[in-house]
Amino acid sequence: MAQKPVDILAVGLQKQYGDIRALQGIDLSVTHGERFGLIGPDGAGKTTLIRVLCGLIRQDKGTFQVAGLDGMRSIRTIKSILGYMPQKFSLYPDLTVGENLRFFADLFHVIGAQRQSREERLLHFSRLGPFWKRRAGALSGGMKQKLALSCALIHTPAILILDEPTTGVDPVSRREFWEILRELSDRDGTTILVSTPYMDEATRCHRVGFMNEGRLLATDTPDNLIHGYPYRVIQVHGENLFPFRKALETIPGVRSVCALGEYLRVSTEKTDAVVHAIGDRLTHAGATGFRIRTVAPLLEDMFVNLLESGRVS
């Protein structure tokens, strides 16, 4: 199999703001047609990394390449190749939905049949069609976000960098949006680097990088990341379990307990003794009618684990 070209390459990127070390040596490579997800807690450095790669701020140390072009020498060409959607994208509030879309289509010389098919696809995702003539300023928060996404996707750049694109977007449109991203990379070969606070979105990427405190702590496929989860996840199902979560936290071998609707998710050492202890403790605390079973870990469990092991060291 021929090796795919690397579209985004970072080597030893560092960036400091005052005494905050936002990037502490980032090595990253994203290959052609790959969907690469960046996850990590607030303030991990995701936005800083993205801004460096888009040439909006300059790193203190390290180098990077985009589409084989050097990040220092060819930043103007890079900017013209990249599609970038910042966390806070500004629309023109006095222009209508249609005018905003057309404005960006003109800006990127998207014309004719291509413009029409793009517009249709994007309106299907955003459901903004009925609001074509509404001023962008009078849209709801999520509608504005979807219009911004549509403006960013009206042209098809070879490389797309998106910073938390779906904040405020409802579940139905969020799913549609990821369908578009999937088409762009799997069908058209667009390379996508996307940061997200949604673990289910990260799971839809080919590879995921977990960032914390300016470092990439783990980079792998979602499956491999989940597979490396060192604990067992036990799910307790029943009504009104929330008050009992504290009672479980003190059981030896329990790593963490979190409530999820009707469930308690408990991460434990891999011993059966813990499972028994959980049942005993719940019964003792007065819980009734609950069921306990072992379930597969999720990317979110891995996220919590990476974050906590990072904090300890």
């Binding site: 009078a138 999520g142 938390e164 409802d170 969020r174 996220f303 919590v304």
Partner: protein, 250 residues
């Protein structure tokens, strides 16, 4: 007017039009006191508009609404001290310290200096903000800003808080911690009226309403909503309910 009622929020045929567009369409809602009530819906469904009406920030076109037993159409000014509001674009003063923000918001709600100081101390303990009080807001991670905004919204000890997408753009760990706080707030007897697009956290609510194009299409416990649609998660149930509506239109 201050008659005892078991409803924290009660609306009848609440309607809001912008020109000839109906953003909130005949909404009937009843929220129990002390409940964590999730207000869900597609983008543009009318959630923020409804909340702004209930907070006395926007006039309804028609219909009735009361919050904590006070009729907001007749006594909008009497409602404000009874509620806290954290908006979708919550605004803190970035260049001020955390404590100055709290003093400012306490002042807005007319708290006098001494009780204000006591409340700041109390709420900082509840929300776990003591160590941050002297920090400037700018530069704090989003998760912390959200907590500070929550603290500001409950400083005047309201009976009900309206939180409009309090956890937008926040990482999974901070979201869990924020929901622990929401449960803490509810434990002190306050009603929490909260919107979110994260269906996993909507599962934490006692009851949820799902809104679509200005109307409530479903209102029940997450358990019942899932059972009725036969879906394993609230996200699946939500997508099914909303997609069904979308299909009916085309």
């Amino acid at each position: 007017m201050t008659a005892e009622t078991r409803w924290a929020v009660e609306t009848h045929a609440l309607t809001k039009r912008f020109g000839d567009f109906t953003a909130v369409d005949n909404v009937d809602l009843q929220v129990h006191k002390g409940e964590i009530f999730g207000f869900l819906g597609a983008n543009g469904a009318g959630k923020t508009t409804t909340i702004r009406i209930l907070c006395g920030l926007l006039r309804a076109t028609s219909g009735q609404a009361s919050v904590s037993g006070v009729n907001i159409m007749r006594h909008p000014e009497k409602v404000k001290p009874l509620l806290g509001y954290m908006s979708q674009k919550f605004s803190l003063y970035d260049d001020l310290r955390v404590i100055d923000n709290m003093i400012f918001f306490g002042g807005v709600y007319g708290l006098k200096w001494k009780p204000l100081k006591q409340r700041i101390d109390h709420v900082s303990g509840e929300i776990g903000l003591h160590h941050l009080l002297n920090r400037q807001v700018r530069g704090l991670p989003t998760g912390w800003k959200q907590r500070i905004a929550l603290a500001c919204a409950i400083l005047h000890d309201p009976a009900i808080v309206f939180l409009d997408e309090p956890t937008g753009g926040v990482d999974p760990v901070s979201r869990r911690q924020f929901w622990d706080l929401i449960y803490g707030v509810a434990d002190t007897g306050k009603t929490v009226f909260v919107t979110t697009h994260y269906m996993d956290e909507a599962e934490y609510c006692h009851r949820v309403a799902i809104m679509y194009q200005g109307r409530i299409v479903s209102c029940d416990t997450p358990h019942t909503i899932k059972a009725q649609s036969g879906d394993p998660t609230l996200e699946d149930a939500f997508i099914r309910l909303v997609s069904d509506r979308i299909r009916q239109e085309v």
